[in-house]
Symmetry: D2
Subunit: 430 residues, 4 copies
């Protein structure tokens, strides 16, 4: 039997006070949608079936190179992180899986699995870490200062490959089905690295990792334009990620992090192109205004998030569905709150994309009626689908207003009393 962190009675009371208003809004929206020939119950069921993984590291307070300002009750290890993830899922009901980062979350797989099961959680894609040194970790005697999978030294490459294989093995024991590889390899100065040879070394290392994949697994390569490398990054854009996935084989695909692109880039078009190439593997959701800001999904440009989902809904369920994960850095908010609302925003974009009148849209596209095509998307985006999201949540046992319910629960104060306070100084990530 499960031992969920939030008292179900609290959720029930929370919902009871809001059920009538929700019903009012839901019915009014249902009425409007029916006028357009859309059945709100069908949309609600689709939304309820849509889930997104949370990253284990996301429940700690993030930081910048300048500073990290921890919050109260920071989780001290993977066990406490799973507890926090369970809160997110219990209240929001959109995030039944957790994505682990190794070695941060390394632990006996049996313990991890048992705790997750008790909390009603599963495990999504595994994440390796070769962008940091791991002092004291016997599996990492060599430094990644000058790269990992593309390092000039074969010994460092071998260490990084072995670490990725170990992540796969742990993932197997946990029921995961994929490994996401993001490396920080690159150069800060022209000339520092030979761009062609570094890529060839990277591909050779990835081929070794690929060879270790169990049946039914997928390997995701994740590109990023810059940071931590500031002149050239080995896997800098989707073109290079595509070349990688092509070189590896059918189990390999590309993962798109919304914040890893050059300014002004049209991300939804990359989604379309990767799908065309049969290499759209997954997403890391977040939002950004400048660089890889890792802000809460939909908080800066919600229409862009909608346009990504518009492509995804349009693509439908042909072939392997991509993997969805949140990847954010919560520097000024309670991470649990940010993750609850980010999952909600992602579902919102999905729900709005479901409402696009695709028959009408296709007709306008055939007629080159740019204005009405544009308005057709906007009409879906403008629809306030909040009551659909709340209904799906409530029906699944979550809270109508999950942030409010979380605050009512006193969870943060409770863990703050149990977990020692940390005072931040220098910069960094969890």
């Amino acid at each position: 039997m499960t031992s969920l962190p939030i008292d179900p009675d609290l959720i029930a009371a929370h919902n009871a006070a809001r059920t009538r208003t929700l019903a009012e809004d839901y019915d009014a929206l249902g009425h409007r949608l029916a006028r357009r020939g859309v059945d709100i119950a069908t949309v609600t069921a689709q939304v309820a079936a849509f889930t997104v993984a949370v990253p284990s590291w996301g429940v700690g307070t993030g930081g910048t190179r300048f500073a990290r300002f921890p919050g109260l009750g920071e989780p001290r290890g993977i066990a406490e992180k799973l507890d926090d993830c369970a809160v997110i899922q219990q209240l929001g009901r959109a995030t039944p899986t957790v994505s682990l980062h190794i070695p941060w979350d390394a632990a006996p797989p049996g313990e991890l699995r048992a705790q997750a099961e008790a909390l009603g959680l599963g495990f999504d894609a595994m994440n390796s870490n070769t962008f940091q040194d791991h002092p004291g970790d016997l599996d990492h005697p060599l430094s990644y200062k000058f790269g990992s999978l593309s390092h000039v030294d074969p010994a460092v490459r071998a260490q990084a490959v072995a670490h990725n294989v170990a992540c796969i093995r742990l993932g197997e024991a946990l029921g995961s089905k994929a490994l996401t590889v993001w490396i920080g390899d690159g150069a800060n100065f022209p000339g520092q690295s030979h761009m062609g040879r570094a890529f060839e070394r990277y591909l050779a290392s990835m081929q070794e990792i690929y060879a270790a994949l169990p049946e039914g697994w997928r390997l995701f390569s994740e590109h990023k334009m810059y940071e931590p490398a500031f002149y050239a990054t080995v896997v800098q854009d989707w073109g290079t990620s595509l070349l990688t996935a092509q070189a590896l084989g059918p189990k390999a695909a590309c993962l798109v992090d919304l914040g890893h692109h050059a300014p002004n880039v049209n991300i939804e078009m990359i989604v379309s192109r990767l799908a065309h190439a049969g290499k759209l593997g997954g997403f890391h959701f977040n939002d950004s205004k400048y660089g890889d800001d890792d802000l809460d999904a939909g908080s800066i440009d919600p229409f862009r998030l909608f346009l990504v989902f518009n492509e995804l809904v349009d693509l439908g369920e042909s072939g392997d569905a991509p993997t969805y994960m949140i990847d954010q850095s919560h520097n000024v908010t309670d991470p649990i709150e940010s993750l609850i609302r980010s999952a909600d925003e992602i579902r919102r974009a999905y729900a709005q994309a479901l409402l696009v009148d695709r028959a009408a849209l296709g007709g306008y596209q055939e007629d080159n009626d740019a204005l009405m095509a544009s308005e057709t998307l906007k009409a879906a985006f403008r629809t306030d689908v909040g009551s659909i999201l709340a209904r799906a949540r409530m029906d699944a046992g979550g809270a109508i207003d999950p942030i409010a319910a979380y605050r009512e629960s006193g969870y943060r104060a409770k863990v703050a009393a149990e977990r020692p306070a940390v005072r931040g100084g220098g910069g960094g990530i969890v």
Copy 2:
């Protein structure tokens, strides 16, 4: 026998007045290079062998959407454009070929060929134009307002394909060996165009063009992030261009225009990646600070131009060498002067790249000595190779200071007297 536009005596007199100073500088540089173990004569010969095509449209004054301000003596057709191109080649000796734009330059091939031969010119890649309507042109009854090779209407696609095939046929008659395809197809609004289907239509059209390629020809796809389409462009980046070239076959490759990228993008890395994929086909050189500014090569960021050539020299002559062309818009300068100096700047970057001590660089890369690797490139870039460029030019019959010689020649005043003045109003290109 040839009838070159500039009096050879003028060039001879020009050079006579500068020979001693050039020899001084050339010898001093030769002395310095010899200290590094570099033979200046070898470098000079490599530079002399390096050429870049000029675009026929580049000899007219360009403009923006706001205005075009024509200069004096604007060429009125391809015959006068070839005359101007001959001036550039005669004085600069770096640009023996011209790239035509059809239908702007459409003319009987026999006439074109005869004039070019008389002027000592050849023909580089052909360029089709389906980003404008051609009123009065019987081959273009349909409008490209909503696209060309990716248009929803098969009739428009067929017209655009036929035009490209006609460009190939004309090119065959002229001795050209390649077709460059750049289209403006895209969308100004989310929803206007179905991104996936538009790309599929584009690929199908390109396959028809590819099928019409003669033996020994190449087909270049050229990407561009935006403009004229302002939300989504069908061939928006090198990833999409790569997918295109992969879908077409071995005669197809990608063409990189330096101004067609998102802000901050590392272009030399794209060069390296396309070479890795065996799909680096050619270049359109220019410089830019904001968007596709089409400024004179090397005028804004000369180190970036050097870094591109550093990759090219490093790649060496493996496989098909890429095609080099200038593609600029000369809005405020005499186009002949801008093209002379741009070709010179391109050769300068090439010469500097030849001076990179690659053995030392490779050693620093192996040692992760980022600082000395960076300094090794900078040392080559800092070398003032002007006397090498001048010597190569002079030895080939050109002018030591080609801009000065051009001004001394009075060519612009002469053609201004022959060609009617135009006063600019609205915007546009030639």
Copy 3:
């Protein structure tokens, strides 16, 4: 008595078919807003009072430097442009004024005024044009190729000043109260222009124009990062525009065009800073993804438009209210349709900004509750205020669905029959 271009009976019939549905939606929204303590009638009245000027040049089809593809029934002069503007106002009821561009719209003021009055239109800010040459215009014998108000030649500066003064005089006769000055002056190459002296010459010219302002007039300086100048623009950002307005005096203020900024810039923050400095003069609304794309307002990033209005509503009516104008280039849509919906989008953003719970927001800001502050803005933005916009329109005599009503009216076909067709070729603007 007026002679409006669209038959009022058509509008009445159009509305009759939609009144019940609108009432349903309006009442449902009113009910929801009442729950939040907001009176929908008050908001509707505020929206009805909010207007934005349309640019006379916006009713013609725009283009890029590559091409212009005219639509059917392009207006041939200011009289036909005013007719088209009257359609926009009659159906949308948000755009009672027109902003003229001189010399494009030069005409006897009596005629302009009479026609405008007959159509129920007034005149907003005047716009001068010194970024193009005006061949055949006796007031413009000198070329603006190398600048206008900052030109090195005092005669060109004097010509440009005189033209601006003439715009003021015409504006006086028309009832306008402001002059907007945007110049294309700048440089394409480092060194081409002395940045400091060019700015000093610009300021001196602006001081002459300022001296010619009538009582009650305002002078707006409009900045733009680049285009048509591609290395340096004299009035490149709000900092330089601020220095200008400070140097001129109390009648001078800054005008913000949403598309004239560097990538990633936070525009709403510029609005806040200019308001702090007492120099927020006005807006040119449009949307963009890359550069000065001049797309329909709210079509690319509607949340950004909302955030600008969030600042404006927060600033309230302290001091002179800024001037609002649309400034777009309609390349692929019917310009009348784009202007109707853009005005609607601007009102939508305004309406949503009115719904922000500012007391709650202020409290969250005091508490550093970043998440709830963010959600407070999002809650307002997510509200589908379409029925408020439609109600305000209908009550003022406009159409519930103005685009549909426009299409029903057959206006475009009617003027296409009267106005000769134009087939586009080279690039440019109207």
Copy 4:
């Protein structure tokens, strides 16, 4: 008497082996410059007089939010940092002053002063730190998580003001003459902070700091577009910095960090505008390709650095000269080496700017001869002034090739033996 860290005999031997080659190059360059009417001795003297401050924190290895990879012999405190700074100055002779960061470098002023004097160093502008918490520091009981000088809580603002005043007091004791204020205050989400009120609070705090300035001091406000705040930064650009300096008074001016701007921004133009406004206070030199990459000056875009110095030389010595400082993060190089070469690159750009033929340039500008104006700048930039830099260094007692001499000295190995090794893990800055 001084006790410099590098054995003078080593430097002498180093130079002896290179004197003849240097003389050869210097004479050849002198000959070429004489042909242009330039006296190389004069330029050498100007270069020798040009100095730039090094930041105390720059001698430690920097990092990103992802990781920090310390080098060997990391300095453990301000005393060891000053030793390292002395190496930079002894070999490079371009950096006689150090800029301190408080509280990182807090120490008894007498000790600091004595050590600096012994090492031949002085103190440049002081830097306060309110972008991090300082656990255990009794002067900083309150957290800066949500801001400092603009915080909503007056107590936090008072703490931050007091810290800045303490920095001034310490600076007075050290002989410094300026305080540079950079804050990380801002917001990660729309709504989190009231943009107008935050700026007003910032101004009020700055006014308190300004009031504490001694006679002869200057206060620099430093803007930055983003990071650590990712939606809105209180002092985001030069416009806001200008408003600040204007509000404070004549002792206040703006400081330009080359990496703190939006993509594509023309920085040299900002230099020109701030000089026009009388508010150009100082510089933080570094280079960048993407964001605030803090790479070695001149390593990415050396022409941009030259163009900044072209403005500075053009401005001449009118009024207070700006303060020059390096501000970089050395993640993959030996910080001492990076600082030596960065100072050299800065001097290189200065020397090249001195070589611009300003009379010719002015003439071309008057003639609108864009091409020759551009070439005039390029001619100066292309000049390899390395021998001038080396000569100035050698004459002042430094090394002809300071990086080589540093490596010959074995300094790093020596301090690595004395200073305990650190193994990096999480991210951050020194």
